[in-house]
């Protein structure tokens, strides 16, 4: 990302271009009228006030087209609309990590992600990481190291842990503890979770 898509004065340049279109930006009321047709139409959608959207999203490599209320979180889309119950709702406020999924390979809190923002993106949930009957190395390591008790936080822990390894943050127990701190385990299985991640990391890198 180092400067690739970043003009030295991208914002100013964008405004200057509009400036020309609008005939001067100072006090630039009515610029909307001068926007290209497509943009003006899009802006009008907001003003018109549609409160639902058509969403096209890829989930575990399968395409989905759904009409959603704009208020729906990605977590509720997965669980309530698509029947993917693996992703768990803990706090619903981004504080516990139980809802962790990957969007375009990066871990996020699905409870704080408006589903409408994920159009065109690729989402991976706990249901999408095994290959047929073969568990993901992180799933196998969680079983081997008894890294759970009640299991409610486990899908979020595993999705966070896979990302933690992929980011290069699973190089020591301290590092793992810091970069897994967004996933709370009420049963306190932390020691075994750290052990599972340490053991899965080299296996993931081999695969």
């Amino acid at each position: 990302m180092s400067g690739q898509d970043f003009g030295p004065s991208a914002a100013a340049a964008d405004l200057e271009r509009r400036d020309v279109l609008a005939g001067g930006l100072v006090g630039g009321i009515g610029i909307l009228a001068t926007l290209p047709a497509g943009e003006a139409e899009a802006a009008a959608v907001a003003v018109r006030g549609e409160t639902s959207s058509r969403l096209s999203v890829t989930i575990n490599q399968a395409p989905h087209d759904v009409d959603i209320d704009n208020r729906v979180s990605l977590l509720d889309l997965l669980r309530e609309r698509l029947g993917l119950f693996g992703t768990k709702k803990g706090c619903d406020h981004g504080q516990c990590g139980a809802c962790t999924v990957h969007i375009d390979g990066r871990r996020v809190a699905s409870c704080l992600t408006p589903a409408v923002q994920t159009s065109g993106r690729s989402i991976t949930t706990i249901e999408g990481i095994a290959q047929g009957d073969k568990l993901h190395p992180m799933q196998a390591a969680f079983i081997e190291h008894d890294a759970l008790q009640c299991g409610y936080c486990t899908p979020g822990q595993i999705m966070a842990a896979i990302a933690c390894v992929g980011e290069g943050h699973a190089t020591s127990p301290d590092h793992i503890r810091e970069y897994m701190s967004g996933n709370i385990c009420r049963c306190g299985a932390y020691a075994n979770i750290v052990a599972a991640i340490l053991s899965a990391a080299p296996k993931m890198e081999r695969e």
Partner: protein
């Protein structure tokens, strides 16, 4: 119950700014980690969300000779891990990776982060608590309540909520500015001037106007940024808001302090620059004693309550420890 809202994803800055200024009670949304959270609590009730993440050209990081330029739509995790930020501005990197969790840092933008709202439990708690920030004129339940984590500096009779962020504290220490695009054009605002003290209008938190969009963050190049740290003390070691924090950068002239920057986090109604502490150190030789004196200067005259008084000695120690860390890096 979250109120229905329309959603719109413009692909240019002009379109975003125009729409935001025209539509009543519209909000920009980037990562949504604050906004969507507060919408679930019915504290933010926008009629329209303008998703700014498709605006091109605002996710990069560029090091020029005299300044570092960070696109406002860059995600916290990416800026924290960027080699130039990590190596040449460690306080900036640390302020980001010591905030939130990696999941939230992957979502949240560095522009939106500056505008995150307070974690005051009476603000977030909704009814029956009174809150002049959430419901202007209703009063402040925090003043007679559990103010353990709230502001030690800059509060008013109307509000003692603290500014919760870390990133703004580190930016403030190094005289950063934000580039703001609005209906009137492009202007720059010092991070120091961006946030307002609550006074009698705690619901007005920044100097931004409707439609204003933070497009870039500009950090002047200084030697003190290289020898810097963001030292953050929390109730637990990770994934918590600051009880006290200090962003410190130093340029040493031999054993004596040359340029020195100190800003305080977690303790103010807005980000705080500790200029008295900076002045006390300037030109003096380093010692642990003088670092503690600087901490005391930073917290002199502060008003406390039985719940939050412990954060004064903690804050003094935090400043002194941050100075020690920065001096070791010089």
């Amino acid at each position: 119950m979250m109120q229905p809202f329309s959603y719109f994803r413009p692909t240019s800055l002009a379109e975003a700014v125009n729409s935001a200024a025209r539509v009543q009670n519209a909000r920009f949304i980037g990562g949504g980690t604050t906004l969507f959270d507060l919408m679930k609590l019915d504290i933010e009730v926008p009629t329209t969300l303008i998703d700014v993440t498709a605006i091109p050209g605002l996710t990069g990081i560029e090091a020029e000779t005299h300044q570092l330029i960070i696109g406002a739509l860059a995600r916290m995790s990416d800026v924290a891990a960027h080699p130039i930020v990590r190596d040449q501005y460690p306080a900036l990197s640390e302020s980001l990776w010591k905030a939130a969790s990696q999941q939230l840092r992957n979502m949240a933008t560095v522009g939106g982060n500056l505008l995150q709202r307070t974690r005051c439990p009476y603000f977030r708690g909704g009814e029956p608590y009174r809150c002049n920030k959430r419901a202007p004129g209703s009063g402040c339940s925090a003043k007679d309540g559990i103010d353990r984590g709230l502001a030690l500096f800059g509060g008013s009779d109307a509000c003692i909520a603290n500014y919760p962020g870390d990133w703004a504290i580190a930016l403030l220490a190094f005289d950063a500015e934000v580039e703001v695009v609005g209906l009137g054009g492009v202007r720059r605002i010092r991070v120091e001037d961006l946030h307002r003290e609550p006074g009698t209008t705690p619901h007005i938190e920044t100097v931004l106007r409707p439609g204003d969009f933070i497009s870039r963050i500009l950090v002047p190049t200084t030697k003190s940024a290289r020898a810097s740290t963001y030292h953050k003390i929390r109730d637990r070691e990770s994934y918590a808001f600051a009880l006290t924090s200090a962003a410190v950068g130093v340029e040493m002239d031999g054993k004596r302090f040359g340029d020195i920057r100190i800003a305080l986090g977690g303790v103010g109604a807005k980000p705080i620059r500790a200029r008295a502490a900076e002045a006390l150190l300037k030109g003096q030789p380093y010692s642990r004693e003088i670092a503690l004196q600087a901490g005391e200067a930073a917290f002199s005259g502060v008003r406390t309550s039985p719940h939050n008084a412990f954060r004064v000695p903690l804050g003094i120690q935090t400043v002194a420890d941050a100075i020690d860390i920065a001096v070791k890096r010089a």
